[in-house]
């Protein structure tokens, strides 16, 4: 896998070397994110990679020059949870490829279901987002016991980190298996049948004891799956004769080895707590995703250095008594607790609003620099690609945006975007329809 990845990037850089992915941006305010901003500085990009950053950058002869006076340059933003490219029209099942049937599906690869011609890609890109995590299981909702008729989807597949540019999904891939996504079970007082039909009340509720029992059983089943995967891993290591290749267990090996994190969607206090405990018991690396609250887990998350992917800050508090601003204040609380986090939107439609989610957190207590990091370098670190993207530093991919201001502010315009040093078209279905109908007399 790794080998494949390396050869792939090599091939890619060879292919693009001669293209227009070499240029100099000058007289611009550079926001490297990992260091202080530099006024009237330059960024040199050679063969798609950042080659030099600073006040005095000498450009090779004949290199294309982009004048940046009055403008700003930032690393492209990373949306750490989306369905971009995997779902086109929300209400039409046929256009959605998230949420496969079955309980344990670690072998499913979201990247191969990303449609490079999805209308959502240019739309998302236009707001400064250059890479996204694609979720095989979609949404930030917890495991509610069923999905599209399939009971108990738990391990829903592999989340990929995708560049928002490329002719094929293969060209878009930054990291095919950024994480294995798990939807942690929840205690369901309603029977799955009642939930499936959206008829609460029409069916008897489980008692808490019953619901808890079934929850515990499901967690037990998860442990059993891991146990089986471990046996398979041992069998493979010891070259056990007659061991049949098993795609599910094979996909679990990097998780068991601690190389690939398990991205666990867990929103509320108990699930978060149990998800952490699950990860500890299995001795694996986990990322918590979709938290709506910290509950009493802050110290534990910090202690174990578990990264967190936060969902929308612009969302309603989860209970009536929560302070009105609890969702907007949550990122600030994580920061205070010393927890590393990045933002995701967990959808397609609003993936482009990632920066505004981060900005809202600033209004309610998150330091601005942290907000910016949480959509750039922190995300890159969490996904293990900080050597490639996430800041304006020498040697990284030139995933860059040129703006007329703070990219977290709504009214800021993204003037230009580069992905792997290649200038990306910022027009979209939206701008095209805009132009078409503005011209109607």
């Amino acid at each position: 896998m790794k080998k494949f990845f390396v050869s792939f990037t090599l091939a890619a850089s060879l292919a693009f070397a001669a293209a227009n992915d070499t240029f100099l941006v000058r007289n611009i305010t550079v926001h490297p994110v990992t260091g202080p901003k530099l006024d009237n500085a330059s960024v040199l990009v050679v063969d798609g990679k950042i080659s030099e950053v600073g006040a005095k950058v000498t450009a090779p002869k004949g290199v294309k020059i982009i004048e940046g006076k009055g403008l700003h340059i930032y690393p492209g933003m990373i949306n750490s949870a989306t369905e971009v490219g995997m779902s086109e029209i929300g209400s039409i099942r046929e256009t959605s490829d998230t949420g496969e049937l079955g309980e344990f599906n670690p072998q499913l690869r979201s990247s191969i279901a990303v449609n490079p011609s999805s209308e959502h890609i240019p739309v998302t890109r236009a707001n400064g987002i250059t890479a996204v995590i694609t979720l095989p299981g979609g949404g930030s909702t917890e495991n509610r016991g069923f999905a599209f008729g399939a009971l108990n989807p738990v391990i829903v597949g592999q989340s990929a980190l995708m560049h928002l540019d490329g002719w094929t999904w293969e060209e878009m891939e930054l990291k095919r298996t950024a994480a294995i996504q798990m939807k942690f079970p929840t205690i369901q007082m309603l029977s799955p049948r009642a939930m499936m039909m959206d008829l609460p009340g029409a069916f008897p509720r489980n008692t808490f004891a019953e619901a808890k029992k079934s929850y515990d059983r499901r967690i037990q089943a998860m442990h059993e799956f891991f146990e089986q995967a471990r046996r398979y891993q041992k069998g493979k290591e010891s070259k056990q004769p007659g061991l049949r290749r098993d795609l599910k267990f094979e996909a679990m090996i990097p998780v068991l080895e601690g190389k690939t994190p398990l991205m666990i969607v867990a929103t509320r206090n108990r699930t978060i707590r149990d998800a952490i405990e699950f990860g500890q018991k299995e001795k694996i690396k986990i990322i918590l995703a979709g938290l709506e609250q910290l509950g009493d887990n802050a110290a534990k998350i910090k202690e174990l250095n578990i990264p967190v992917i936060l969902g929308e800050t612009l969302t309603l508090p989860s209970s009536e008594d929560d302070p009105y601003d609890s969702t907007a204040a949550l990122p600030g609380l994580l920061h205070k607790a010393g927890i590393k986090f990045a933002f995701g939107t967990f959808d397609t439609q609003f993936a482009r609003n990632l920066p505004y989610q981060a900005a809202t957190a600033v209004a309610y207590g998150l330091p601005y620099e942290e907000a910016l990091k949480s959509v750039t370098i922190n995300a890159a670190e969490i996904w293990g690609v900080a050597d490639q993207i996430g800041s304006i530093e020498k040697g990284k991919w030139a995933d860059l945006i040129i703006t007329d201001g703070d990219p977290l502010e709504t009214n800021t315009q993204i003037k230009q975007m580069f992905i792997k040093g290649k200038a990306v078209d910022l027009s979209s279905r939206h701008t095209k329809l805009f132009e078409k109908y503005m011209s109607r007399q």
Partner: protein, 446 residues
Amino acid sequence: MQKILSLLLLGCGLLLAQPPSGIAIRNARIVTGSGPILQKGTVVLRNGLIDAVGENVTIPTDAWVINGEGMTVYPGLIDALSTIGITDAAATPGSARPAATPGAPAATVSRGPEDRPLTTSWLKAADLINTTDRRIESARNQGFTSAITWPRRGIFAGQGAVINLAGDKSNDMIIVPSTGQYLALVNGGFGAGYPASLMGSISYIRQIYVDADRYARIKKQYADNPRGLNRPEYDRALEGVLESQRLLLPANRRVEITRMISFSKELKRPTVLYGLQEGYLALDALQAAGLPVLINLKWPEKAREVDPENIESLKVLEVRDKAATTPAELAKKGVKFAFYADGIDQPADILKAVRKAMQAGLSEADALKAMTITPAEIFGFADRLGSIEKGKIGNLVVTKGGIFDEKPAIQHVFIDGVKYDPAPDTQTPAAAGARATGGGKEQEQQ
């Protein structure tokens, strides 16, 4: 089995058809409910009625005498809103949807108000009484001698009746055959058509009253002079509505209380609100409205078998903490209220619930009123029931100690002047609901 039993009871009644000509309870503490408490008085029951009450009453020579020393006599308790005696499937939830027009097939999907959905306004509780309903006896064993019982299915459920909780035939039990229309805000449920929402239910009720008023006018117009006019089309639903002018509207939460107060004004009919557990939050509105109310004694409590980590909202917790203060608060405001015990499974818990309201400030006198004279006043039969006064129906409860004591010891219950004694162990909660028989009529006093 049940049939055999009732036959037996019937036989019994025939054999002992001659009741004593009078019963006197002597030297008892008498809480008359209409005047001052008599510390040592006598009540005489004769011919089913209260013949005399006072401190210096001459006991007729032919009367059975009960020594009331150490006992207290109260007016019989009244449950102001119940389904006691109604076991008829047509009037209770879960039965088939009745047709609005006799003979017409039941509409499964209602397309609008014209289909008269969820309406059985013509149903009379008085016609539905089943004397074998076990709840009659268990309520009696707790001191209840009367109830106002209602069909409870649908939006216009039907007409309530005031009944006595004893009688061989249902006809014997009826005190007032029709005392109002029971309304609930329910919807047809998934796929059942109009109304499918709270909004729809309210709009339906509004349309029905608009229709009913017109129906009354055009019927009168036609009755006055039918010549040259098309006859008004018979409408059973509207007939039922017109013959039950007093209406019961559901109002449990504050928002429902204020909503139903204004709805009542709009409908321009005598209204009784029921529910009222958040009444303490709407005191001024209730006082200003001047509507009588029925308070449900089933105080909200924490649900069992719930997720211990699921913390309820402050609002829910506050209501649970404060609901039982409603009676005391309403008493201070002079709002007329009666109690009902809907949803309390164990009859023994009814008085326990009243005690909770007393612990929250309700006086004993006001508590008693809410189960005696006030329901009688609200539903217009206070001239017959609700207090111990000469000439009223002979419904009494006799207790050792007070009726609101923690473990009330109910000695005798009199209904229509006939004595019923709670059978052994009917007063322990577990037994009261489960017992089938026992504690029947006692015709003799040893």
